[in-house]
């Protein structure tokens, strides 16, 4: 590399000074962005509590079984997420053309599916820390978007996770989670639609049930 130059000891002090000044400038920049997050609202507090509960579940992984962690995770999900809104949204327009029996079957399997899938995805983590960056009010449905960072021990770059929080029936509920800009709700919706288009509603429901069973077997191992 041509750009790579070895700094000779004689020139080091001058450069070091320059770099120190630059470093201070940069630090003060990042300091400014941290203090901006001081106006965390109640929505941020809600996410902080939820996040701490999740971190606690992963913390004593050695002393718990997957089934126990999954059950704790289910409680977090049921308490913190508005699953009715999520399940209806994810089915999109296929909800409208589904028969009553199909809707019933979908409602029966959806929460199990979400719990199983995310408990599996989630369980590979450990030692993560999270920080609340800021809460942004959106102009849609009065939702607040709480932006957070998850710091992984395995990687130097944090993962950005945004929680879309809404007041429903007097309490805060999460209606979408966005990981690095990728909406989990939207991704499931498109995935579900693809299966329904190819296999029909009953074929899709079978796939959901099969996935619940497969994850359940995994849980035993």
């Amino acid at each position: 590399m041509k750009a790579m130059t070895i700094i000779s000891p004689g020139r080091l002090s001058g450069r070091r000074h320059f770099i120190a000044v630059l470093a201070i400038l940069l630090f003060s920049f990042s300091g400014a962005s941290v203090s901006a997050s001081a106006n965390d609202g109640e929505a941020s507090e809600f996410i902080r509590d939820l996040g701490e509960r999740a971190v606690d579940v992963l913390r004593d992984k050695e002393n718990t079984t997957f089934a126990e962690r999954e059950s704790a995770f289910r409680n977090i999900l049921v308490d913190g997420f508005h699953l009715r809104t999520i399940s209806r949204f994810v089915l999109g327009r296929h909800w409208r053309s589904a028969t009553k029996a199909q809707r019933q079957a979908y409602n029966d399997v959806f929460v199990d599916f979400i719990v199983r899938v995310y408990a599996s995805r989630f369980d590979s983590y450990g030692g993560e820390q999270f920080e609340i960056l800021k809460a942004v009010n959106s102009d849609v449905e009065g939702d607040t978007i709480v932006r957070t960072h998850i710091l992984r021990p395995s990687s130097s770059s944090p993962i950005g996770v945004d929680y879309r929080v809404r007041v429903i029936d007097g309490g805060y509920k999460v209606v979408d989670v966005t990981v690095e800009g990728i909406s989990m709700l939207h991704t499931h919706r498109v995935e579900f639609a693809s299966v329904i288009n190819r296999k029909g509603m009953d074929g899709f429901l079978d796939e959901l049930r099969a996935q619940v069973v497969a994850r359940g077997k995994n849980a035993v191992n």
Binding site: R96, R121, R166, V175, E180, G181, I182, T187, V190
Partner: protein, 276 residues
């Protein structure tokens, strides 16, 4: 910018590029239905070549299973994390001139300066990119590529494409890949076997960091192809936005009453629904 060195290969290349750009621009005109039809938007997934794409996707999955993933696993098994981090830092550092050039083309001055400073610090104090010292002083990597540049210039993503070996893409990003490949100042200073080595190293490095994530995603998807397609599209949109918040999707709250109401409606309309 001069294309002198690559002018021989550039001729055929140019034709493909032109075609792909036209595809992308044309596709852009026919995208984005109005938000009030959100319930129907899932059908706007722009994938007219789905049949072919699924075949290519399967092919890539096979190549991944027999070649790339085992190589990545051996790499993780043999090289300790410290060593892999150094490889990743070096490869990232080679990418900085391209990040810088694309940030400039997008008129993203802050990001351009960040990339420039990162390259300067990491190539010197970071011992030729061996250590990402810039990250430590708050200069986080700002990844830019020509696909993003085209997006900033108003070129739409166009139809989804799965490229052989290279994976999920679209005409815009495929053009971006090709242009980055040709104009990348680091690549241009490399001999061809060095370019290939860098390409392979990049592939194994990238793959090694997603072994568990991709495995879990595949296991927990009921349609892995559709999930990957959506992840790719949203991931790229997020990169183009430089991680800024997207406009929120309309997600209507469903109260218990509405939930039940709809069921009652459905009972009344079930005759109509079954006729379809």
């Amino acid at each position: 910018m001069t294309f002198g060195a690559a002018s021989g290969t550039l001729k055929n290349f140019g034709r493909v590029l032109a075609l792909l750009v036209v595809l992308g621009v044309a596709a852009n005109c026919a995208s984005d239905p109005p938000p009030e039809d959100y319930d129907d938007q899932e059908y706007s997934v722009n994938d007219p070549l789905e049949g072919l794409n699924r075949v290519t996707f399967e092919f890539n999955q096979t190549v991944d299973a027999v070649l790339l993933k085992p190589m990545a696993e051996i790499y993780v098994g043999v090289v300790p994390k410290w060593g892999r981090d150094r490889v990743n830092d070096i490869l990232n550092n080679f990418g900085e001139p391209s990040n810088f050039a694309n940030a400039l083309l997008q008129w993203e001055m802050e990001r351009a300066v960040t990339s420039m400073l990162r390259f300067a610090f990491n190539s010197t104090i970071g011992l030729g990119g061996f250590f990402d010292v810039a990250e430590g002083i708050g200069l986080s990597r700002a990844s830019e590529d020509f696909g993003q540049t085209l997006a900033v210039w108003g070129v739409g993503e166009g139809p989804y494409l799965v490229l052989p070996l290279l994976g999920p893409s679209n005409p815009r990003d495929a053009v971006g890949l090709a242009v980055d490949w040709v104009i990348d100042p680091v690549s241009r200073s490399f001999r061809s076997h060095e370019k290939n080595q860098r390409f392979i190293a990049r592939g194994i490095d990238q793959r090694s960091r997603y072994i568990v994530d991709l495995e879990t995603l595949e296991e927990t998807s009921i349609d892995f192809y559709a999930a990957m397609r959506e992840l790719y599209r949203q991931h790229r949109a997020n990169e183009v936005r430089n991680g800024e918040l997207p406009p929120p999707l309309p997600i209507p709250s469903i109260t218990l009453e509405e939930f039940l109401d709809e069921e009652f409606d459905q009972t009344a309309a079930s005759g109509e629904a079954s006729e379809q």
